[in-house]
């Protein structure tokens, strides 16, 4: 078995005081294997961004463990935590507000190097210029410009360069292209694919756009109201979703094709409040297949095909083997990345 770079077990995050507690993330477990891109998709309020932040401990998990290369981040603190965190970097949604408008591109990218005293003088300059060039910002012409002088797409490129400065193993991308125009979005997606190959990066790609997530991911995990519904290889999951929610979500995605059949099944209603989530399966209030069992028993993730797991009592794909409960400590959601796909 290829070992996981990042291992998340029963991660929960809750906000607010007792009585008004919002369970943003509830018992989420998954692995990210070195070299793969795991897409984390879901609608607003499903906990995908909170999951990403909890991995970095930008928000503190209330329960569960996060293990990066065998080191438990959730147990680390102080300098040890900060040191481990250099191996994982995060890029955020709004590229303009994630950069200080009054600093120069070069200084922004150099900041992590300065913090950790990784390089100085001539070497520092060489590393920074190389990073800027890699993300498509000409260091000679633009390196000394201020962040405020760049467009959104360019700011996102600078953010990527800054994240790469520490040579991280894992890059957490939180809605990194959703604020960009389509033509610029394509540039950034292609850039991430190129950098991933070049730096041997592993990506956790969090986004709401189903087409974007499929495009960049090897595997995709779907979240609904704080829980993981389904996780599996991108192409399989999109072709044959096993969770009813995934099916509706994909059905609602708009295809830029006038000949595409208009799907009639539209998911009715809106997600319930995370202040008071439904018992059992959290999707049951909107699910056309829900029974009493869904209200009383929380479905656990189980395998329906190799590497394809679903948390549903009545999955749309028939499980390979219905009983697969032995060895319940076994990691969930682990599959080696598809090795067949080379640079294409």
């Amino acid at each position: 078995m290829s070992e996981a770079l990042l291992s998340v077990r029963d991660l929960s995050v809750a906000f607010g005081p007792r009585g008004r507690r919002v369970s943003a993330v509830d018992g989420v477990s998954f692995d990210v294997v070195a070299g793969e891109t795991l897409g984390l998709v879901g609608e607003s309020g499903c906990g995908k961004s909170t999951t990403g932040r909890a991995l970095m401990r930008i928000v503190e998990p209330t329960a569960g463990t996060v293990t990066l290369e065998g080191v438990e981040l959730t147990a680390a603190s102080g300098r040890a935590l900060r040191e481990r965190r250099t191996a994982m970097q995060m890029i955020f949604q709004d590229p303009i507000s994630s950069l200080n408008p009054r600093r120069r591109a070069r200084d922004i990218v150099a900041e992590p190097l300065d913090c950790w005293k990784r390089a100085e003088g001539e070497e520092r300059r060489r590393i920074v210029d190389e990073l800027l060039a890699q993300v498509g910002i000409d260091p000679v012409a633009y390196g000394d410009r201020y962040a405020r002088q760049f467009s959104g797409g360019q700011c996102q490129r600078i953010s990527i360069a800054r994240a790469l400065a520490m040579r991280p193993k894992l890059l957490i991308c939180d809605e990194v292209v959703s604020a960009l125009d389509v033509s610029v979005q394509a540039q950034i997606l292609n850039l991430l694919e190129d950098l991933k190959a070049e730096y041997g990066l592993t990506l956790l790609f969090i986004a709401h756009d189903l087409a974007v997530v499929k495009n960049i991911s090897d595997r995709v995990a779907v979240m609904y109201l704080g829980r993981l519904c389904e996780i599996g290889p991108a192409d399989t999951l999109y072709d044959a979703p096993a969770h009813p929610y995934t099916k509706f979500l994909l059905g609602a995605a708009l295809e830029a094709d006038p000949e595409a059949p208009r799907r009639s099944e539209v998911l009715e209603g809106e997600p319930p409040s995370p202040l008071n989530p439904p018992s059992g399966c959290r999707f049951r209030t909107r699910c056309p297949f829900a029974t009493e069992r869904c209200a009383t028993e929380t479905p656990a993730l189980r395998e329906v095909a190799p590497g394809h797991q679903v948390a549903c009592h009545y999955p749309l794909v028939v499980p390979v083997r219905d009983r697969r409960t032995e060895g319940d400590g076994a990691p969930t959601g682990t599959t080696p990345p598809a090795e067949g796909r080379a640079a294409g």
């Binding site: 389509v182 033509s183 974007v212 509706f248 995605a253 708009l254 295809e255 830029a256 539209v266």
Partner: protein, 332 residues
């Protein structure tokens, strides 16, 4: 074609005076809209699509903006019309659904009263008739427990529900033309599908015409009959939605289509990204505004501005000196 024309837009140019100079946001745009028709206006940020829809509505600040050309709505000229004349149009002839339902509703007024206002001021209904009609409208746009929601404040509603309220307000005066400017941007996909279906349904039921302004080609693909593709304030291609998708001639249209990822493509499909970014409207190139990013650009493109010329199909126009050859078969 012309007998049922509801809206006639001719050579509309909207310019803004900014501290950096004069900015042309919409530049010589012309198109017609028939009754019951829905047209999509597509473009990236800065393409002028929103300014165009506001110009059609006659919504501009009084200072620093100049509009030339003609917008003929059901025989009434909007450009240069007085505020009084425009107020006669708003609500009953034309209504608008804006992008952000959070900011287009008044946060301190109950939603019912915001719908009532249209009915009482524009249609002269009395209080109780307006209330009954407002509840009817809330039901029509699919708001459950409409009677309770009538007395709710916008903050207690979700984004999707707020957008339904905005649509109810727009429909209150039974307008003939509905302008929807990015009506689903910022909403979740499942909610987006609900709102688009709702717009479709009310458009059919009330026999309205609709202009759907969006950056998302997926939104217009199956919901409009014709498309207007804009770039840097100009129309670069227009035609039936089918022709624009399958038989487009302008390289920008293709770039827009091919750079967006598709759910039907396998994962890791390389995207055909176009280099650069949309131009600065204060500093537009002399010729074709897309030329600096275009793979087919020649010297002529940088010196001379292409005008719209007809393609093979009726009603299909494009502005390009080096149009793309038609591909055999229709691309998916």
């Amino acid at each position: 074609m012309s007998d049922e024309t509801l809206l006639r837009v001719r050579e509309v140019t909207t310019t803004f005076d900014t501290p950096q100079g004069r900015l042309t946001a919409v530049d010589g745009v012309s198109f017609d809209l028939a009754a019951h028709e829905s047209v999509g206006v597509v473009g990236e940020s800065g393409s002028g699509k929103t300014v165009l829809s506001r110009t059609i509505m006659g919504l501009q600040p009084r200072r620093g903006v100049s509009v030339t050309g003609s917008v003929l709505l059901n025989g009434t000229e909007v450009v240069g019309a007085t505020e009084e004349a425009k107020r006669e149009l708003w609500g009953r002839q034309v209504a608008m659904v804006f992008q952000d339902p959070m900011t287009s509703l008044n946060p301190v007024v109950k939603v019912g009263r915001q719908i009532d206002e249209v009915l009482r001021v524009r249609l002269g209904m009395d209080r109780s008739a307006a209330r009954a009609r407002a509840i009817e409208l809330l039901e029509m746009v699919g708001i459950p427990a409409a009677v309770t929601r009538y007395g709710a404040y916008p903050h207690s509603l979700s984004g999707g529900m707020r957008q339904r309220v905005v649509i109810a307000i727009a429909l209150a005066g039974s307008p003939q033309l509905l302008l929807a400017d990015e009506p689903t941007t910022g909403l979740d996909v499942t909610i987006q599908a609900q709102i688009l279906n709702l717009l479709d349904e009310v458009q059919g039921r009330l026999g309205m015409s609709m202009i759907l302004v969006t950056h998302d080609l997926g939104v217009v693909a199956t919901r409009t009959t014709r498309l207007v593709v804009m770039y840097a304030g100009r129309v670069v291609e227009t035609g039936t939605t089918r022709d624009v998708f399958a038989r487009h001639r302008m390289p920008y249209t293709r770039a827009l289509l091919e750079s967006s990822p598709k759910v039907s493509n396998p994962s890791h499909t390389r995207l055909a990204a176009i280099p650069g970014r949309p131009p600065n409207l204060l500093d537009l190139p002399t010729g074709c505004a897309f030329a600096p990013r275009c793979a087919y650009a020649t010297d002529r493109c940088t010196s001379e501005r292409p005008v719209l010329e007809p393609a093979d199909e009726p009603g299909h126009l494009f502005a390009c000196f080096n149009p793309l050859p038609l591909r055999v078969g229709s691309p998916s």
